[in-house]
Symmetry: C2
Subunit: 315 residues, 2 copies
């Protein structure tokens, strides 16, 4: 009889599910809407219902279910304590106990969603073949995850790998969403690079294709850069300088085998990894220069893959 596990990616809008075979193959995936009413009190029951239904559909005995891995949008300690999930209305929550009761005393593993996604990319995405990586996710914000010796580095208050708020610029005057000034996210998120480009446009009298756009996006900037627009190129350079600097200091602390670059902005492709790597190599010890820089591969599925791998890699 074959064994399976579930990977769950709990987000503020949707909950994604995957059922995985023991060798990590995703057999089926689906999602439901996240019910945030009443401080998110129905969420664990909704997750358990979906899993119990799927167990029935697949006619699985409890003993065939190796466990349920779940990524949540908030800080999680190394032993699975969820400190809070502001987006869900959750305060301190014992997901392991709560979900275990509702799913037949199944083994549960919990991690922060960005860390879990990093684990997924390492085992089955861009970081395959490695045991320690730093992943950085360039989306609306900038997220990060650190995996060391095959395991998520959670941190003492669940805040390890918060690379979006790595301080990279002492001269910044604009305030970041976190209240600080000069965070990586202010330059390297989708909104960050637009801010950088607009600031360049204001300061320079240079002609640029970017001025044609009513509502400039990160994608527009990368597209114009590829068409040879100098100002767009400058904006991307600034973004990648800061990214290389941030990954350089991160490597000086944990010395990973590779870096995985993900998130919507990473669709810009290898032009991004090349520029980041160039900036990185300027700022690290010789022994740290030779690192692999790769693009993420799993997209929005990284979360369910990583969640499954929290169960499968611990066997």
């Amino acid at each position: 009889m074959n064994n399976y596990c579930f990977g769950v990616d709990l987000g503020g809008t949707a909950i994604k599910f995957g059922i995985f075979s023991e060798d990590g193959e995703c057999q089926e995936k689906w999602d439901i809407k996240t019910r945030k009413e009443d401080k998110g009190r129905y969420i664990l029951q909704d997750i358990a219902n979906e899993i119990n239904k799927k167990k029935q559909q697949w006619k699985l005995y409890d003993t065939q279910v190796l466990g349920i891995g779940i990524g949540v949008p908030g800080p999680v300690s190394g032993d699975g304590c969820v400190f809070s999930c502001v987006n869900l209305g959750w305060g301190k929550t014992n997901v392991v106990e709560g979900l275990s009761k509702l799913t037949g005393e199944c083994k549960i593993a919990v991690g922060n969603d960005a860390n879990v996604a990093a684990l997924g990319e390492m085992y089955q995405g861009g970081g395959v073949g490695h045991q320690s990586i730093i992943m950085i996710t360039l989306g609306t914000g900038v997220g990060g995850g650190v995996v060391i010796d095959g395991k998520i580095l959670a941190g003492s208050v669940g805040a390890a790998g918060e690379l979006g708020h790595l301080h990279v610029n002492d001269d910044e005057e604009a305030v970041c969403t976190c209240g600080g000034k000069g965070c990586l996210e202010q330059y390297a998120s989708a909104t960050g690079i637009v801010r950088v480009a607009k600031s360049l446009m204001q300061k320079s009298k240079q002609e640029t294709m970017l001025s044609k756009f009513d509502k400039l996006t990160a994608k527009d900037i990368f597209d114009c850069m590829k068409k040879g627009d100098d100002l767009a190129n400058q904006a991307v350079d600034i973004m990648c300088e800061y990214l290389g600097k941030a990954l350089g200091v991160a490597a000086t602390v944990v010395d990973p085998e590779a870096f995985v670059i993900g998130g919507g902005v990473s669709k810009a492709g290898e032009v991004l990894t090349e520029k980041i790597q160039k900036s990185y190599e300027k700022r690290v010890l010789p022994v740290l220069k030779k690192k692999e820089f790769v693009l993420a591969k799993l997209g929005n599925d990284a979360g369910i893959y990583g969640a499954a791998n929290m169960i499968l890699s611990k066997k």
Copy 2:
């Protein structure tokens, strides 16, 4: 019958030894000169001789020796592979195999000396009570060590925790010993702060007690600061700003419970930890602000204590 272990701190000038009881108490310590002749080929034999002699003196059976921990001055992988020790003339060296043969098939654990010292400070020095710390050592150079969940974070090429070469200043023009520019060591080592003070003296016309010294040292600068010298105070502020910045980015990556500040320069005392903490708190996420900043306690013995703890904490 009581059990014991040995802690060895292999340096470029001397090899320090300690024999420890099972509960981590140092029973006796001693040292010998490091024989670096012929590419350091006699070193492991010298270490084994000392340990075997001590076993005889103490009339210990092989079964009473829990193991030998050893810190070496070079990069070491997580599984104990020593990549090189330039100061000793060593290339890639299998210390575990070599030393095990010479000491009666004893359990051997090897780590980088700065990382091993961090482990010692965590288990029995300034970091007691914690399970994850970042230690920074302010001496002739600046070293560092990261301990996560009670274990040394070695890094994929043994270069984790190289905090002296964390890039903190893009505007630096002077070159660091590593070939880079703007490394923490250029401001926060004993020579670094002297360089900072001299540069301030050149630029300003301000009167300062520092101009009285023929050969200015880090200690002179801290002494004059304590006597109210404004320029000395500025130099210490610059040093601590960079230290806080570096520890801030390190915390954003690994989120430790505490920071331990050691090395000769740390004798300046709590004025140092206070200034570092102030700079640190300006640059990190709210969730990371509340960290403990403590002074190291074991001084030059941190290495043998940490080496012993590599054996004792793994039991």
